[in-house]
């Protein structure tokens, strides 16, 4: 093929691979070259494994040459957030505490990705233990935003956000306990989905907070996120939270009309509860206009205050995280970076009653959201209240000061997709919205996200860094 293969979507690349017009080896080499050119600027990887990737790409190429592709992920380079266990390759959570930890087995979702034929390129940086960052006191530096390397990627799936936006990989895994797929997807201009709680196995993914943790994919387009999610899904009887549900084809509705779909806009979330920056507010209004032009029904939905969800999420997350780290925090606190150590420590100051009261409030919030969603296909609000901030000026206690706009859907477990909704005038930084569906209704979320992408031009713009 002609042109830069690293700028292809997964759908485009897989089509070319199936037609023998693009070689998985050629594609992987291009991603490796892109990484070698930009990683010193963006600090995306904690463990880059190009030789293993090339071995996998050669194997994919040979198999495709004889029996055709296994599916759309066969021969596609993807990166893994460094909390996903990889057999024989260190999995550290980007922490000095686990710097020498080499798992014996792959995470369940990594096994699924390998079975799909995906080419794994290495382990991507993360906020330490998916909570502490951006940190400058770990064994490698924090990832930087390809749209402006002086800015944060958001987190915690920071390396994943940077690597996909920079074309180092065509997709990456993330995890999301309060924002960690949707924040970097929003700030890096990607499509990232936190699926329904229980859809994806968490086994072999280092936990932050077991009842809020979700795995998920981060890609350039909504369609790609659907394709990659398909490759990661499957019932895992060894994860007690993994739901045994029928798995649909997540792309089956992508080309269906969205006319008549009802979108519930949670205005108070982004207009008052956590007032978004003007370019985000403008983008949300433009997105609503796009959906109206596509024949969707727009209605306003009122949920409990955003701070109620934030309080529940923070208390549960802090308590569960402290329980996981209690012994290490007491024995070797110096092995944690400052931000992770201090944030996780806060959970030790809570009581059992605090935790149970938060769980009781969680039950009430889930019921309130379910009732508000009657007659609504998806909810819509901002993906992040603001574009990417300077990387050296991210407030350590922001989640305490301002309620997270993504946490409600970890608390409720609903599928939530972040997708690019334009660019801030002047800076060119991405802004984003969230679409939130009913439990296990990912296909509808993807349908509405894809329809929006098809109706807009945002996917035609890549970071200027890639043209340099």
């Amino acid at each position: 093929m002609t042109g830069d293969p690293t700028l292809l979507t997964i759908r485009e690349a897989s089509t070319l691979i199936a037609e023998r017009k693009l070689s998985p080896v050629e594609l992987t080499k291009a991603c490796i070259a892109r990484t070698e050119a930009l990683d010193a600027t963006l600090s995306t990887y904690v463990a880059f494994t190009p030789e293993l990737a090339l071995d996998a790409a050669r194997a994919a190429e040979a198999e495709i040459g004889t029996s055709g592709p296994r599916g759309p992920m066969h021969g596609i380079p993807v990166g893994l957030k460094d909390i996903y266990d990889t057999a024989g390759v260190a999995t550290t959570a980007h922490s000095n505490l686990l710097k020498s930890r080499v798992p014996a087995e792959d995470a369940f979702t990594v096994t699924k990705l390998r079975e799909s034929g995906a080419v794994i390129t290495g382990k991507l940086g993360t906020f330490e233990f998916a909570i502490g960052g951006p940190s400058f006191d770990l064994f490698t530096l924090p990832a930087r935003n390809p749209w402006d390397p002086a800015r944060t990627t958001g987190g915690s799936s920071s390396g994943s956000g940077a690597a996909v936006a920079a074309g180092m990989v065509l997709g990456a895994t993330g995890s999301d306990t309060g924002a960690s797929i949707r924040s970097p997807s929003s700030l890096c201009g990607l499509a990232g989905i936190k699926p329904t709680y229980g859809l994806l196995s968490r086994r072999g993914i280092l936990p932050l907070s077991q009842s809020l943790d979700h795995a998920g994919p981060m890609c350039w387009t909504v369609e790609d996120a659907a394709l990659m999610l398909q490759a990661m899904v499957g019932h895992d009887p060894l994860d007690p939270a993994c739901a045994d549900v029928a798995v649909p084809d997540f792309t089956e509705k992508l080309d269906e009309t969205v006319k008549g779909k009802t979108i519930g806009v949670i205005r108070h979330f982004h207009e008052t509860d956590h007032e978004a920056a003007p370019p985000v507010l403008a983008a949300i209004e433009q997105a609503i206009a796009v959906y109206r032009s596509l024949g969707c029904v727009i209605k306003e939905v009122t949920l409990p205050p955003l701070m109620d969800f934030a309080a529940v999420g923070l208390i549960i997350m802090s308590s569960e995280a402290f329980a996981i780290h209690e012994a290490d925090l007491r024995a070797t606190p110096e092995l944690y970076g400052e931000i992770a150590r201090d944030r996780i420590s806060m959970g030790g100051l809570l009581t059992g009653a605090d935790y149970v009261q938060a769980l009781r409030r969680r039950q009430e919030l889930c019921a309130a959201v379910a009732e508000a969603m009657i007659g609504v296909d998806v909810l819509l609000t901002a993906g992040s209240p603001f574009p990417a901030q300077p990387i050296d000026n991210v407030p350590k206690w922001l989640m305490y000061q301002k309620p997270s706009i993504t946490m409600p859907f970890n608390v409720t477990g609903l599928p939530a997709l972040a997708l690019c909704a334009g660019y801030e005038p002047g800076t060119g930084l991405p802004v984003a919205m969230q679409l939130v569906g009913h439990p296990f209704a990912e296909t509808t979320v993807f349908q509405l996200g894809h329809a929006y992408e098809q109706a807009t031009q945002w996917r035609a713009t890549r970071p200027a860094l890639l043209a340099a």
Binding site: A311, V312, L314, P333, D342, M346, Q357, R362, E364, K396
Partner: protein, 62 residues
């Protein structure tokens, strides 16, 4: 539940949890904890005895 906490009372909580905080971080941690105090208050609503926590599930086989 007060949203303010003295330095001495905060130190007691840290000691009980077995957490060591660097002196230069003590004040910012205490300030953050006061924000957390407000959240502890927020999750407490008038409820009946029968208000269940989330994640109560049916036993296997039921």
């Amino acid at each position: 539940m007060s949203e303010t906490i003295s330095t001495e009372a905060f130190q007691v909580l840290l000691d009980r949890a077995g957490i060591r905080v660097k002196p230069e971080h003590m004040e910012e941690m205490r300030s953050a904890f006061m924000l957390l105090q407000a959240m502890r208050e927020r999750v407490r609503k008038p409820r009946g005895y029968d208000a269940e926590p989330a994640h109560i599930f049916a036993p296997m086989g039921r």
